[in-house]
């Protein structure tokens, strides 16, 4: 796997604050000295209101490049990531063209060397054109630096194709990241099946459209003894399936998005296109199951599923709008505001699930606070209050579900791979 960013300087700086590194069991006031990009010293420091933490890792980002550079570029997307406290992100291959060949992948890696502010890895497609018919050249793609394989945006409809993908890609050691959706159950679906969709008349997208695919995919992972990662889990039934698989030692990891952790389908009553996501926002019991799984660690990753869309594509009736919302610049603040402050989730757990959790799931270098390693650090002001506005984004798109909302907690500085990339 290749994580690529602009070759540039290495910075020297001193960060001081309450150092919270849950994966390392650290929570004390410390001064971290970074010299030429490397952590050179860690010393006791006086109490501070700022939190210093291993920077975040987002395993699920749509950078829209190539093809929709009007919505996001590697530069704008990674600047957004930097503003959100991320030191590494993984980009999805559902671009135009699809990242389904080594030549497209190499082009992106080269572009990342020019443009990416934050180290960026690229996932490659499971099937050619993400059509679900033929496997991509997975060995060559792995050799060209693919971070993982996924047909995200679409499910792998054929169980046989997924089985072969798991089996064939085994020697690459790369995980398959799976968008679990049974298309015949989700077809025409725009909102979670329940009272809200029934009352509004929106086509129902039942939880089972996700969970039957989660069950299938976990069964195939067990059969082939391969590592799979479940993307944007949304339904309580999916969590239950994951729990059963983990109890049988299936090598599965899972991610959840900030919007599925904070909102329910009640938000859809506004018919605001910025609460239209795939999978859809679900019911209270689903949200509770997701929060619980995140606390327990069954879901070990928070992923934004950052999905930029052009303004005019979201200024249409709900059913006509594309699925997806942005999230890189608001993930920490939204979860701090809506989960940590109300006592639903410990700060340490949030930080772990945003950093070490996703790094481990994808075999990325875990951001650590240790003498001699490249500095990957985020500085957080937990008291900062701010309002999310369309003008405030580094992303080229502003299709955020948080527009107009006030949040508490903000990323004030990000150091990624030894360089100050934000603040």
């Amino acid at each position: 796997m290749t994580l690529m960013s602009r070759n540039g300087r290495s910075d020297s700086l001193v960060l001081e604050g309450r150092l919270v590194a849950p994966a390392q069991g650290i929570d004390e006031c410390l001064r971290v000295t970074v010299a030429d990009g490397l952590i050179a010293a860690i010393e006791p420091a006086p109490a501070s209101e700022l939190v210093v933490t291993p920077a975040f890792v987002d395993p699920h980002v749509h950078l829209r490049t190539p093809g929709r550079e009007d919505e996001e570029t590697l530069r704008s997307g990674t600047e957004a990531a930097a503003a959100g406290g991320y030191c590494a992100i993984l980009a999805m291959p559902n671009t135009n063209p699809v990242v389904d060949s080594a030549s497209v992948l190499r082009g992106l890696v080269a572009l990342a060397r020019e443009e990416a502010v934050v180290p960026t890895g690229f996932m490659a497609a499971i099937s050619k054109g993400q059509e679900g018919d033929e496997l991509t050249e997975m060995v060559e793609l792995a050799g060209a630096g693919a971070a993982a394989f996924t047909d995200d945006g679409r499910p792998v409809a054929s169980a046989a194709l997924l089985r072969h993908a798991l089996r064939y890609s085994g020697p690459t050691g790369l995980p398959l990241a799976l968008h679990c959706e049974e298309p015949s159950l989700s077809r025409g679906g725009h909102a979670h099946e329940g009272a809200v969709s029934a009352e509004l008349g929106l086509g129902p997208y039942p939880s089972a459209a996700e969970s039957v695919m989660v069950e299938r995919d976990l069964a195939l992972a067990a059969l082939e003894e391969r590592r799979v990662h479940l993307m944007h889990v949304s339904a309580a039934e999916s969590v239950a399936a994951l729990d059963r698989a983990l109890a049988r030692d299936v090598a599965a990891t899972a991610e959840v998005t900030p919007h599925h952790l904070v909102l329910t389908d009640e938000a859809v009553r506004t018919l605001d296109a910025n609460v239209k996501m795939n999978p859809p926002l679900r019911a209270e019991r689903d949200r509770e199951a997701l929060r619980d799984a995140l606390r327990r660690g069954a879901i070990s990753c928070i992923a934004t599923d950052h999905a930029p869309h052009a303004r005019h594509e979201k200024e249409v009736p709900f059913e006509e709008a594309p699925f997806g919302v942005t999230g890189l610049e608001t993930a920490f603040a939204s979860l701090h505001t809506h989960l940590v402050l109300p006592g639903q989730l410990g700060l340490e757990t949030l930080l772990e699930r945003m950093s070490a959790g996703p790094a481990r799931a994808f075999g990325l270098p875990e951001p650590r606070v240790e003498i001699g390693v490249r500095a990957n650090l985020a500085v957080l002001d937990l008291r900062a209050e701010w309002e999310v506005t369309a003008e405030g984004f580094r992303s080229r798109s502003a299709n955020s579900w948080l527009l107009g909302r006030r949040l508490t907690g903000r990323v004030v500085q990000t150091v990624a791979d030894g360089r100050v990339v934000h603040g």
């Binding site: 077809r187 099946e193 249409v316 059913e319």
Partner: protein, 312 residues
Amino acid sequence: MSEARRHLLAIADLERADVQRLLDAARAFDGSTAKLPLLRGSSVVNLFYESSTRTLASFELAAKRLSADTTSVRAAGSSVDKGESLKDTILTLSAYDPDVIVVRHPSIGAAQLVTSWTGAQVVNAGDGKHEHPTQALLDLYAIESALGRLDGVHVAIVGDVLHSRVARSLVRALGLVGARATLVGPPTLLPTGIEALGCEVSTDIGAIADAEVVYVLRMQRERMVDAFVPSLREYAAVWGITPERLRPGQFVMHPGPMNRGVEVDARVADSDAALVVDQVRAGLVVRMAVLADLVAGPATGEHALAEPLEVA
């Protein structure tokens, strides 16, 4: 309908008093074909993205009866065919400063979205599977005309509830006026969670026995493709409204257009029990009431006192 610039977007936005006021106003318009000056100098644009006979004709006629200038734009044959967005179409039409835009659109929430792009008052003439508020109002009007009351009336709504904006608006409207609704149909066409609207739900056609009004929804042929029902034949056999399934005194309603022999037997459609033509007639006065209420203001009962402009 309490904000400064008022719209009629959904029955869900209304209160009982709003419904009563509109029905009273409609009643005052009924029985006369005289042209009234209430909306003289106002303009009404009807923007229809879906085909319509009754709704479009009655909105046009209603506006004309009230002396408004009116024009109708159908998506087919307009700039919409050239890919113009809803937003741009609304900005364009709004440049003519219409007082009211009546919009029918295949997507849920379209009328609500239109309000953000125009200074006109907006009437929802059907937005996808969501709501069709003037249909529900005219249905209440027809029921009240037939039965002499709305409070406590039991209406069984039969058929494809899943895809029906008529059903969604009507259930809400019946709830507002103290009537009772029971949804009846094949399990696949009764959406999960719909009972949250405050209605009863049954898959047994026998559930219509207790109703004073049997409201029949249109059964669309494409429902077989997605395996909602196996055939129109079986649908008609199990849920079709036949004379044998009705008891004396029950009224039958249908929003049209009817599929005779499918959801409703031709003998029922042509019987005295059928209120279908009454519904169409109610559509005109109810839409007059809606337009007058929005443009001229919610002046209870005064509409009837307006001097006839000319006798048509």
